[in-house]
Symmetry: C2
Subunit: 465 residues, 2 copies
């Protein structure tokens, strides 16, 4: 039985950070500065978010004073009030110190503005809330033994409550997302705690809501079209494409355009996608919205590959499963970290192959975390649900326990590769938006593990140790 492994040695930047690569990154850095200058950003790491759409907190439900101000400058907030997002919890050894420094951000004089998590209590504090999730208990759950991960501070309970309250209001009042008898499942999803844990640098609750709505919408599509709540692989390609047009709109003739627009209100998944995307587009740049659409197209391709295999009772080879899972993946969630953080990673820096590799590895690690924590839940579901341990056991002819433990190693390798690639990129490209984006992705990875570990409503571990 493998013991929880100690922190690995810190990888040093490999020779692959070649002179030409460094040149490309330096050029891109110059371009990024120029882009900021052109927009009057002046190099500020966190330009303010445009005012949120008025529907965010319907006036009829919530007195105006309940709504946190959309723009609380970090400078107004006493840093000492916030949870120390950059200090790992004590029960697990911290990762390699050098890597920790890079991924958790700069320290010292003048860097407070980069740690936007330090302002998170402030905007939330002015909001008196009534609890809608069960009162915040200390985090429960046990980490998968041997899983390489970084613990996170408990997410700010005041923010969690406020996000939970607002997301339920949105789900019920704005998009009519689910019937009453699904309320327990909605609460059990604990999406408020999830998103607050994953976005410690969101300047305001309004920013957090951008991520929370999209996460709920993505789950609604998955549940209603693909899985738990009436989903099916049959005809899925048509349903997903029509839902995708709620993110990536149709442009057609005057006769047919209105029928498409009406269709976006015709079921819960499309209502949720349409509304969540409308809020997102108002807050994001055009390139950030384009990036999100691309990642969602990838996600939908992943769903359709999984559905095709389910329909034909095909168990893929392990590498094929891993390829599918790079698409059917959390990727759309960490890649909006800059929009949720109120800044922008420029499109040309996002597109570099080095950044694409970091994002892919991070997404793959988070997704295998899901396979590991949801293993017993999926075994208990109807049908033969593919996940990494199941595919390894089938394709490599080993026991369920051995396959599960091997899957933990696959996850750990992906995490180490992600951290090494992120450290290399951070060293090669000292641009504030790149550094902050890399920290944001790492924070998402850690927050995602926290949520899986603590979501004992949904998940329990197998008895393999």
């Amino acid at each position: 039985m493998p013991a929880p492994e100690p922190s690995p040695p810190q990888p040093s930047p490999p020779a692959a950070a070649s002179p030409s690569g460094a040149f490309v990154l330096a050029e891109a850095a110059a371009r990024a500065r120029d882009i900021r200058a052109a927009f009057g950003g002046g190099g500020s790491p966190a330009p303010s978010l445009p005012a949120p759409p008025p529907a965010d907190v319907p006036a009829t439900d919530v007195p105006a004073t309940d709504s946190p101000p959309a723009d609380v400058p970090a400078a107004d907030v006493p840093a000492a009030d916030s949870p120390p997002a950059d200090v790992p919890a004590a029960e697990v050894p911290p990762p390699g110190a050098a890597l920790g420094r890079i991924l958790r951000g700069p320290s010292g004089l003048g860097t407070v503005g980069l740690h936007l998590a330090r302002c998170e209590s402030a905007s939330a504090k002015v909001v008196p809330v009534k609890p809608v999730e069960p009162p915040m208990a200390p985090a429960e759950g046990t980490p998968v033994p041997g899983l390489y991960h970084h613990p996170v501070p408990e997410p700010d309970p005041v923010r969690v409550e406020e996000v939970s309250r607002r997301i339920k209001a949105w789900a019920l009042d704005e998009v009519d997302l689910y019937p009453e008898d699904w309320e327990d499942q909605f609460d059990g999803f604990s999406v408020g705690r999830y998103m607050v844990a994953c976005h410690p640098d969101a300047p305001t609750v309004d920013h957090l809501m951008l991520a929370t709505r999209l996460m709920v919408a993505e789950n609604a599509v998955d549940d209603c079209y693909c899985e738990d709540h009436g989903g099916s692989p049959i005809g899925l390609g048509g349903r997903l494409l029509l839902a995708h047009t709620a993110l990536d709109p149709l442009h057609t003739t005057k006769e047919y355009q209105p029928r498409w627009a009406e269709s976006l209100h015709s079921d819960a998944p499309r209502r949720a996608y349409r509304s969540a995307m409308e809020y997102f587009v108002q807050a994001a740049s055009a390139s950030q919205s384009d990036r999100y659409r691309h990642d969602m197209a990838r996600l939908h391709l992943g769903y359709l590959a999984e559905a095709a295999w389910a329909q034909t009772d095909h168990v893929p080879e392990v590498w094929e499963y891993l390829a599918m899972r790079q698409f059917n993946n959390f990727r759309p969630c960490p890649t909006i970290t800059d929009t949720v953080g109120g800044y922008e990673l420029p499109a040309d820096l996002h597109a570099t192959s080095a950044m694409q590799r970091v994002i892919a590895l991070a997404g793959n690690a988070t997704t295998i975390v899901n396979d590991l924590y949801s293993y017993t839940k999926e075994l208990a579901s109807p049908g033969h649900h593919l996940n990494l341990p199941v595919v390894i056991a089938d394709r490599e002819g080993i026991s369920d326990r051995e396959a599960y433990l091997k899957s933990v190693e696959v996850h750990n390798d992906l995490m180490h590769d992600f951290e090494a690639a992120a450290a290399d990129l951070a060293a090669a490209c000292p641009v504030p938006s790149v550094q902050r984006f890399l920290r944001g992705v790492a924070a998402w990875v850690d927050g995602n593990h926290y949520w899986h570990r603590t979501n004992t409503y949904r998940y329990s571990l197998p008895d393999f140790w």
Copy 2:
């Protein structure tokens, strides 16, 4: 019976070109200039393409002197030798003069460098070639009566021959694309003529080859996975996703990565995607490659929606069909016009909602052209092949002839909307790369119609007039 319609009145830019929209576009223009400056481009509209990969013209097949130089500066070329790409052919009235000016580019002193088509004969002229397509005859075929379109000059026969020769060498020697008995179909596809017609501003044959390889690869995937040559909707989601990883690579662990890399050589569609993308990535910026991947993810989603409906014998509503067809669409072809032209439309300008609308409308018009010209071919194919006339006839309860004629009108509306949106954007955003990109998309639309009209090997019109 509708007669070929005269040119419509030129739409004037609507009030929607608002001050805030103009501000965004002006800001983006400034950013575009900054990006050029950061890269040392100095505002040149056509930076030179990096040297093409050495495999482009294998030394063993073609003496080095046969290969056109990758970089022939436009200034070295007598403009009078080239076909007049900006003069519509005589048999059809030109479109509105103002629009024509915008879409066909600037004129007057100092604008020669923007008309790269004028250098096309030059680089090709140094290449003695032996014909591989039938000797160039005058273009055949009849336009669909009533179809709003713009004729194009006959594509340069020397370029057509050279592209045709090189693409066949690539297909046979580099990616082992097809068995010998498919040679007639490969030749009948006339992809050389297609791509030369669609990219009149490509500086060299090397640039044209970027588009030609991708077009052939896209058709190989469609044919082998989806349609004519052993394709099927069953299990398509898995096949397409694995092929998509040839464009958007897998990042996984050391144990599984090599098996994925081997898989890219395991069938013709993946060999073709992998190789064509390798060439493209070397010539394109990271953002241009990202754009292409996104458009290909859209295409694959479109294939999967169509397949889902085929599998369930579902005839969609007309708007649903049009939504599917916005994804199962030529879009990936016009949107590489800047890479093929040897310049870059900056990512932030590509992502604007105005540009996205122009691209979507252009793609939709070109795709309905395909539905109209391939109508009789698809009726003769096995199964119930969906296309716009078939769906309109079924869903709106009208005759095949009426449905076909209504589809012509749908196409014409899309073309008019495309041209109006492009004219508005060109007026609002006087950035050279935007102007040239819009001209490039318009040239692709026109070249695509030319190819469909003249491809009498594949297409014939129904007897509805």
